[in-house]
Symmetry: none
Subunit: 202 residues, 4 copies
DNA sequence: CATGAATGAGCGTTCATTCAT
DNA sequence: GATGAATGAACGCTCATTCAT
């Protein structure tokens, strides 16, 4: 029976999440998690196969969180813009989550199973749907919804990424760039494939 | 004169770059570089004051390379599009450089002196000039050149970043996304500040 | 329970002490201690926070040992002489302890907290008491007890120090010098402050 | 021909001495000396076989310096006291010299040839002479001059050593202890060998 | 279920020293 | 006479991980 009252697993996750959010990925060590939880580092290995498994659980959490936020966006007119805003908000509220979710190279984290990026694809599907809806009004783009959604996503991601890497000029306000990016992303649905490469787009 | 045949310094830089690309920042260690080069770890300290200095040299190298590529873009009509294309090409040709130049968190690399991001600002200035020129034809955007340039940059960066992090759906071709991003970036110059915040824009 | 037969902690302390005695402070390294003990360097960090903590433990051990020896000296007449003899005996029996206790520069060991020299002050207080008692018979010295005690101590320390640093001429027997020092120290209580500085002494 | 104008050897010694006196023994490294002199570390090996040889030269310098100071003490009445005062003054003025001259264990500095402690013996001889002279007035001590001189020396050394190791209580002024030690040392010449061990003293 | 002990590999860095040129 | 390149050994320390109990 656990000495600390409640089951250890959720508490490990909680502290790991806290460390990740507060001090970032490099600060996340088994020793520190254990210290914060109040157990031995070895105890963690009862609940997680290794440190990566713990990190994966955290990443999954992040994707669920993002999914919930996006689901909560009111459907109907303005859905696409809402999704964009919610995505940007999520990144601002949980920068370290965002970091591990979208910046970590698979090569740096070899054991993360590819199928778990499903959550990421779910998000793209959501975006795609909204795009399809919005296109019924201005239906002049032959782009596949997935391709357009990816472009929307990448536009937002670019601004977020530079913002988080603190690469934006001090004379510019970070939120301004994020706003601009959202507005630009709204135009992504209008982008057509290159006329010189007909047939490539779906 | 080197005991080792060729001069060690460029080889250290090359191996460091390779490691950075293949296994990420955390894998970059003096010992591993030394091992790959075939010298002692201490030898590295003959050429670089410390690990950070090595990293900085890598970054500087990258910015010089990018600078040269952008300078070579023919000025005049289509300059902006040319700059965008050259930027994307650079990222594809030198992913390892791109990684250190634009992805590394300052928190992972605290001692990098801020002035050295000058090269990055140079690039933005180049973009800004091209934007100003292109605007004389379609002069309807009140955006400051810097802000617009940053948006252009972030748009390209987003696509590059997702592409390099291998987050793009397999059914999509990476180059397509990059093309789309360039075309979208061209529209970034048209984005106006939020009408609800009059007077903030330049 | 130790994997290694006996408990590691005392063995670490013992080997550290031995190295300190045989090859001096600069030779005391975690790796070497580990090697001598037969464990990993990392194992030492299981018992001591860092190298300094190990050193502090050594010092504390030494002071406890000395304290016990001095407490065992029979009080009453001859107490002062007994304390002196016990101090010298301690130094001869435990030269390695003596070295860390009284020779280490704070600059070589910056992090040693000042309060922990308490043990040293305790010893001085003991000496001071004995001096006060002895003075009731030959009460002609206006020296404060602390100042006199320090002088007694330093007299003994000088002989011990030269003896241990092997600086004494071979034609002289070390023990003779120590004996002489004890007898001289007994006269330290008679030393008066300089007549040319009236009022400074207590 | 030397690039730097003057011959390198004296300048190496000078910088080494400066480092030793200013920042102590542990700060004395070939690299730092070379840096201060303005030459390569390897250049030092032209003039000194190794780092120890450089240190030995410094120690020799120290003994010569001390010797000069002691020679300068006016002979005649008060010679002994003058020698004591000069010795203490030397230690205060050159604490780091004193450190390497009298604290370094032969075990820590194996290659220092024993015969070079001659300078130290010279000092003792000087003391011994002064003691012999002073005894002609109060000739009641059967101690050999060498033994008495050693006791005088050790008395001074004890105070100096504790003072330099910063072991003296803050409420006590270091110079006071040194003064006391000098006065006590003057009595060292009166100390007789133990009556219970007749015949041991010379 | 969880601990305490211990490992083994690795980290960035510093050192005295060597040696061809 | 002195340099620049390079070595090899050591430093204190941290890490994820294992395993008997």
């Amino acid at each position: 029976m656990p000495r600390n009252g409640t089951d250890l697993k959720p508490r490990i996750l909680a502290e790991a999440r806290k460390i990740l959010l507060e001090d970032g990925y490099t600060a996340l060590s088994t020793r520190r998690v254990a210290g914060e939880v109040g157990c031995t580092a070895a105890a963690i290995y009862h609940y997680f196969e290794n440190k990566d498994a713990l990190l994966h659980a955290l990443i999954d959490e992040g994707f669920e969180l993002l999914h919930d936020r996006l689901e909560a966006v009111p459907k109907g007119e303005g859905h696409l813009r809402g999704l964009c805003a919610a995505y940007v908000d999520f990144s601002s509220a949980n920068p370290e989550f965002y970091e591990v979710m979208f910046h970590l190279h698979p090569t740096q984290m070899e054991r993360y199973p590819v199928e778990r990026y499903r959550a990421q694809r779910d998000y793209l599907a959501l975006l795609g749907n909204a795009i399809n809806v919005s296109r019924q009004e201005s239906a002049h783009s032959p782009h596949s919804a997935l391709r357009a959604a990816t472009l929307v996503w990448s536009t937002l991601h670019g601004a977020i990424s530079l913002h988080q890497a603190m690469r934006i000029d001090k004379s510019l306000r970070g939120p301004d760039l994020l706003d601009d990016a959202i507005r630009l992303a709204m135009r992504a649905v209008e982008i057509s494939p290159l006329p010189s490469q007909p047939g490539i787009s779906s």
